[in-house]
Structures are given as C-alpha cells and as structure tokens.
C-alpha cells in the first residue's frame, strides 16, 4: 500500500527527528548546565577573594598596634627631635570639658551667607526639614556647617538621655524594620526609604551601626538618620557600630570625607561627631525577645553590666596590646592605698595609648630611652590618678553622676580608668563574629572581639529568655544570612559593597509574631541591566586586580618561596608548586588552583617561568622604576597603615604634613619593618611624585599615586 508505506516512512522519519531532537535537547542542557556551574564557581571564588582581602586588611590594625608598641618598647630615639616627634604621636590634640565643647564647637557664630542655597534647619526639627534634606542630598547639595553642628549638638543632647539598651515594642508600632551596615552608601538608604517608607509614627526603624566609612556619603547618612531620630524619637533607634569610632574613621575614610567637604569647620565637626558617637546606644531589644547588636556576643557578655556602664566613656574602643607592667603596679597601689594588684585597666591599660593628655607638654630632655618611657608612664600615671579620684566620687553616688564628673571623665580619650571588664563588654558587642564551631575564641582577624559558637548563642539566649539575635558587621551576598540554627541573623544593608554587582543589601521586618520578613535590593541601575555573566565578570575583574596587587606587594617573599621549589635554578616551577608557594606567602586561604587561569597567563608544558610572571605583575602597577623596589612593596603592603599614621600626625586635619615629618615617619617605619631606607631613598620618594607644596607633603596625593585598585566612582 503506497500511502501506507509512505505513512510509515513519514512516521519513521518524524520518530527519528523527535529522537534526534530529544538527544539534542539533552546535549544542550548538559552543556548549558556546565556553563552555569562554572559561573557559580567563579562567583564564589570572587567572593572569597574579596572577603579574604578585606579581613587581611583588618589585620593592618594589629600591625599598626605593633608599630606603636615597637616605638614604645624597642625603639631608641637617636635625637631629641626624634623623641619629640614620637611623643607627638602619642599626644592627643585637644580634649574638652563640656562647656569648652560648647564653646569650641559653637555654631551660633557661624554665619550662613545669603548665597547658600541648601536647606535651612531650625529646631525643634519637623518632618518638613527631613524631606528638605532628602531632596537636597538627592541633588548633591551640601548642608551648611552651621546646621551640621547645630544638629550634632541637639543629637548629643537627645542621645545622652537614652539608656544603653533601647527598648522597642511591637505593640505600639506594629512592625519594626531593622537595617544593617550602610557604610556611607546613601543610595542604599534612599532605596530602603523608597521601598519601605520613611520613618514615621507608624513606621519604626532600627539602624544597627556602621553608618560611616568606605562609602563617600557617610556625612549625609548621619545627617538624615540624626534628623529622623530627633523628629521621631520613639520610632527611630540607632545602635553604635565599630565604625562609629574616630580611630577607625582615620583609616577608613570618614575623617577624610568630612575634611574634604568642610574645609573650614571640618575639625569642629569631627570633634562633635566623636562626642556623639560615644553616646549612641549599644543595643536594642524588641519585645524583650530579640536583641539587636552590631557585632555579636561573647561567652562573657552580661546585659546587666551593659545596661549600667557609662557608655560615653568609650570614645574609641581600639587600643594597643597589653603589656606586662608589673613594675608599675606598686606605684598605683601607693596612690590608692589599695592592696589589690590593680585588676584594672588602670594597671594594664596604661599601655601607651594613641591619645593621652599630658599635664605638661614638655618632652623629657635626656637621650635615654628609659627616661623617655618613664616620662610617658608618668604622664599616664597622672591621668590615671585624676580619673581615679573622679571615679571615687562618681561611684559613691551611682544614680547621681554629676554633670561635671561625667564630663571630666571624658577629658581623657582613652578609657584607661575603666574596669577591664566594662571595656571588654563593649568591644565584644561591637566587634565579634559568629563561627560555625562551638566555643568562644579571640577574633584575631579583626583584632578585637570574639568568634562565638552556636553553644555560646544558645546559652546566652537561654540566660536572658531571648528568641534570637540580630547583628550586622559582615557582608553577605544575599544581604542577610542565618546561622547557629537560625538563632543568629546577620543583616547587611550596603549593596554592591565590594564592587558593583558583588552583593545585595537587605532589611528585615518584624511584626508582633517576631517572624522575620526580608526585603532585598541592589542599588544600581546598571547592575540590573547586566546579565549574570556580565555582572560576574565585572566583579571578578575587580577582585583579581586587587589580588594581583597583593601578589605584587609580596614579590620578595614570593621569589624566595619559588626558589625553594627550584633547586636546579631553572627559573621554572610546576603549577602545583606555584599554588602551594603562593598560599604559604599570602595566607589568604584561597583556592589558588581554581584561580590560576586568571592569574597566570602563559605556561610552557605545565611549568611557570616565575621571574617573568612577577615582572609582568610589576608592570601592571604604576611604574615607579626609580624607587627602590623593596620600598615600593612596603608601600603597597602597608598603604592603609601609612595613611592612618599620617592622619594621626596631621593633627589639624589639613591633609599636609611637613617634609620633615614625612621623613621621620619613614625612618621610624623602615626601622620597624627592617628595611633599609637611605635619605636618598626618601628623597627619591618625594621627588618621584610632584606633590611637594612649599615644603609640605600632601599625603593624600602621595598615597593616591600608589593606589592601583581604583576607587569606585561615587
């Protein structure tokens, strides 16, 4: 049957066709899934790179401490000039009593010119002021210094009345929105307000610290948050983060931002901020069931103690390593008549701090290191004595701390007179991170606080009958993350934190049932328009650039490590040994074999010519051939610390230090780092970048010249 057979043929043909189509589909799906898996791996590796670099930067803080300790303990100043210089590093700028604070940071005398087109504030603040500010900032306007200072004064007055732990109840406000780190990223705050609504009597907010640093609009964020705080005091709650701390601000950008935006009044503004940050509450409690703190807890966290301490004593929570000061204790005892071997802080904490107020501004005049140290300790001792005397007064009247005694306590920037335990409570709350393993150990990566395990969380929640903790402090790819069996929630509100496309931000809403509802976002239109591949590529590029810079910064150590695998001096090593060597030097815990294709371009027969690879890396960095290569490495490795040191020296925050100060810094630093640096070497440094401004060095420009990883445009 003709038609039958043709039907059969047709049927067979279409059957084969559909079989083929089926097989084709399988192949395409297989191939595509492989592609997606590769993307996912790249995404995760990129994330790991950023995180490990960020945390290794936090190690810089420890290195800085080591540097200062070195100056104190081991370095012998070779001249009185040098001694003066060092002692200046340990002498704070000015500190003020309350009345002086009002006078120095006075705003009333500041005139607002007619030409000023920005928003005007008057107190008490009204919702209209808030809207005006939001609009102004959206149009990139700047609030006049007078209003900034006025706002800060009012904010401080308000914060002083608040307890250390704020209490929020969902029965009044129905729903509470909790936001995490913002880090100067104003776009994210706008996005949150856009999606969630502005604070109002029916919309409560808790902002969990780290409003400043890294991003370029920390100032605007603070102005907005403080404004809403004053307008809606019952509905807006702020917690202090570890970045609400002037020592941290020196390193991470807030100080710089303020000085750049307010050239005339910046110093005053910074001083006021110091005195506002220390008054921020330390924690918020919702319905007595959910505790919100910025960092975390430790196995010694004690809510009762936290409630009682004088939180404003801790202007900065950072401090140097403790030293064994057994020789000093007798002196202290004599003064106090106590037989107890000074638990405190007084005994140990008098390790030279970065800002002390000497009674006499005279530096010792012998060339003896011992004399110098003794002078410093004496200075510190005098401070301790003053504080102790005041402490005695205040302790006898716990409820009625007189205004002046509280104020006087603040004359000293560093809490050398508080008890060790109080300081640790605050440090732990602001700096700790959760870890998957049980137990509680020192957080060596950050140099402060603890790593706390699920057992610590469990015990803590049990002790205070809490349901779970909300904290921030760590960037999360999805903007939030649970751990410890959903008992700890991390909420992070700065999207694109490492790079455009690196992560989402999120906020969490809690109703009376205390069940968390999340909203995620990513503040950047371009990020949305990019495909996943493009997004990943962009972030990846940025991560690898940073990684290559790190590799370059360790050139000498890497060569040594490579050579140890190249016994025959062939100039080549296997790729496997490359990976092992790199990890042994950089210690970032990264999957180097996965990353290798992006880092090592050409190989011959599975071997790498390591010298030319390193040369290629060097070429990518700015070419400063006439500078000692080892010096270049040191700069790259320690840029962040150098910047902080320069800022400490630059007490009037002008951005300039004298050539001599620049030289001195380098001498001290190179002595500590054990690198040889001749005077010629320093001169080369100065000459190489034309930043000399009438005998002064603009250290911002200097540091910019050695920055390869470009800052994100604001």
């Amino acid at each position: 049957m003709g038609s039958g057979s043709s039907v059969n043929v047709n049927y067979k043909y279409s059957l084969q066709k559909s079989e083929n189509a089926f097989k084709a589909a399988v192949l395409i799906q297989q191939w595509y899934r492989r592609h997606v898996a590769r993307l996912e791996m790249r995404r995760r590796c990129t994330w790991r790179i950023f995180q490990s670099i960020e945390y290794s930067c936090e190690q810089d803080q420890i290195k800085l401490h080591n540097f200062f300790s070195y100056l104190m303990d081991q370095f012998t100043p070779s001249s009185s000039k040098e001694r003066d210089f060092i002692s200046r590093m340990f002498i704070s700028g000015e500190s003020y009593k309350e009345a002086e604070l009002e006078k120095y940071c006075d705003y009333e005398s500041i005139e607002v010119p007619d030409s000023y087109t920005g928003p005007h504030l008057s107190f008490p603040l009204l919702p209209d002021h808030a809207t005006a500010l939001l609009e102004a900032f959206q149009q990139k306007q700047q609030l006049h210094a007078r209003y900034v200072l006025n706002l800060l004064h009012e904010t401080r007055k308000h914060l002083k009345q608040l307890p250390n732990i704020s209490h929020v109840s969902t029965c009044y406000s129905e729903e509470v929105t909790v936001c995490g780190d913002l880090h100067g990223q104003l776009d994210d705050l706008f996005l949150i307000f856009y999606k969630n609504g502005l604070p109002s009597p029916s919309k409560s907010y808790v902002f969990n610290g780290d409003f400043v640093d890294r991003g370029k609009q920390s100032l605007e964020i603070l102005v907005i948050l403080f404004t809403f705080l004053l307008i809606y005091p019952k509905e807006v709650h702020l917690n202090r983060g570890n970045h609400e701390d002037h020592m941290v601000n020196l390193r991470y950008g807030f100080t710089k931002e303020v000085m750049q935006k307010y050239k005339v009044h910046g110093k005053k503004i910074l001083r006021m901020f110091q005195n506002v940050f220390c008054w921020l509450p330390l924690a918020t409690l919702i319905d007595q069931k959910v505790l919100i703190i910025h960092g975390g807890i430790s196995d010694t966290t004690d809510l009762e103690m936290l409630e009682k301490i004088q939180r404003d004593k801790f202007i900065s929570v950072l401090r140097l390593k403790k030293r064994k000061e057994s020789s000093r204790k007798p002196q202290i005892e004599a003064v106090n008549g106590e037989s107890e071997a000074g638990t405190d802080a007084a005994g140990n904490e008098a390790a030279p701090r970065l800002s002390l107020q000497p009674q006499s501004a005279q530096a010792p005049n012998t060339a003896n290191r011992l004399e110098f140290s003794r002078w410093l300790r004496q200075t510190v001792q005098e401070q301790i004595d003053t504080c102790r005397r005041l402490m005695d007064i205040s302790e006898s009247e716990p409820e009625e701390l007189t205004y002046s005694s509280v104020v006087s306590l603040k004359d000293v920037d560093e809490p050398c007179w508080t008890r060790q335990e109080e300081w640790k409570q605050v440090l732990d709350i602001l700096w700790s991170d959760p870890m998957p393993q049980e137990g509680c150990r020192e957080n060596k990566v950050r140099g402060g606080g603890c790593y706390f395990g699920p057992d610590v969380t469990e015990k803590f929640l049990d002790k205070y009958s809490l349901q779970f903790l909300i904290r921030s402090h760590e960037c999360k790819q999805e903007g939030y993350e649970f751990c410890h069996n959903r008992k700890v929630l991390t909420i992070f509100s700065a999207s694109n934190y490492y790079e455009i496309g690196s992560n989402r931000g999120a906020y969490v809403k809690l109703g009376p049932d205390l069940i968390p509802h999340f909203v995620q976002y990513q503040a950047n239109k371009t990020a949305h328009m990019l495909t996943m591949t493009q997004r990943i590529s962009r972030v990846e590029e940025s991560a690898f650039r940073a990684l290559r810079e790190k590799l370059f910064a360790h050139t000498s150590a890497l060569i040594t490590a490579f050579r140890s695998y190249d016994g025959d001096n062939t100039g080549k090593i296997t790729l496997s040994n490359w990976a092992t060597a790199v990890e042994s030097v950089l210690r970032l815990g990264l999957p180097w074999r996965m990353l290798r294709p992006q880092l090592v371009r050409s190989t011959e027969d599975g071997m790498l010519e390591y010298k030319s690879w390193l040369d290629d890396l060097a070429m990518e960095q700015r070419s400063q051939e006439h500078i000692q290569s080892s010096l270049l490495e040191v700069i790259y490795r320690n840029r962040s610390n150098l910047e902080t040191i320069f800022r400490i020296i630059d007490r009037d925050h002008s951005g300039l230090i004298s050539f001599e100060e620049f030289q001195q810094t380098w001498k001290l630093f190179s002595s500590h780092m054990n690198i040889e640096l001749t005077d010629d070497g320093i001169n080369d440094l100065v000459r190489s970048i034309d930043f000399n401004k009438d005998g002064n060095i603009d250290f911002n420009e200097f540091l910019e010249a050695f920055r390869l990883v470009k800052q994100r445009p604001s």
Partner: protein, 167 residues
Amino acid sequence: MAEQEKGRDGLIAEIEKKITEAFEVFDRESNKTVDGREIGCIIRSLGCFPNEAEVQELLAKIEEPDGFVHLENFLRVMTEVLLDRRFQPIPEDVILHAFEALDENKCGYITKEDLVKHLTEEGERFTQEEMEDMLVVALDPETNTLHYRDYRTKLVVDETKIFPFNV
C-alpha cells in the same frame, strides 16, 4: 617503573588538591561537608560535562542520609572520575549539530517558542528559572530568536578563559 609510579602519585596528589579546593569553595561551614545539591556544580567546575542522570548516579554513591556529602567520599569517587577522564567536554561541533537539529528550517536561528518547548519539555528538562536565565543572555531581544552559532561561540570564549586544568 619507579619513575612512572612517582609520576602517577604526583598526578594523583595534584588531582586530589584540585578536588579539595573546589569542594571547599562550597563548604559553607568549613567542616568538610557540602550540600548534595551543589555536587553537580562542583563536578562541572572541575572540567567535567556530566548530564543530570550521571550526576545523580555519582551522588547516590556518596550522599549521606541527611543529604550532605563528605569530602573524603567525594575525593575518592572524583579522583577516579578525573583519572578515567569521564564526562569529557562536549566538542564544539557536536553542540552545533545539536542546535541545528532543533533548527527545523535550517535558517541559523531558533525561535524562542521552539527553544522553550524543546528545553523545558524534552531531554533533562530545564526548570523555569534555568530557561529564563538562558533566554536573558541567549535571545536576540529584537527578533526573539537564538542565533546559535554566535551564542555558542560566545560561551566557548568565556569557557576557554576559565578552563581550570589539564590533566
């Protein structure tokens, strides 16, 4: 013979390091276990092209009752996979032919509808999400069609940048 042995041992050691690295990227709690659902991803990022059935087969051998996979088991199984060079990459021309098979009229492109039909209803079906993700990149927005030659070339270029290793 000894040299060969040493060479092979060295090779195995290197393979094991690579497998461990890839595994650890997905090891969220740093406790040498990984969610079974991520195993496919890990295998693929080690240079293999298994299909879903093959992934499941492998997983069945090493998955614990709680759905997690331990490093030592994965290491054992995966080392063999790599030494045996299983799940080889799909050659470029084979993929091209596969696309062509779906291109009935041989015009060089596939319509969105056809693509969706084939990939979500046949073979080892795509989920809605997978289909959408692919379309975002693959489709020419103006014509809503997939020009598969260009697409394949594009993905291959991305791949060669990243191909993790040569055994």
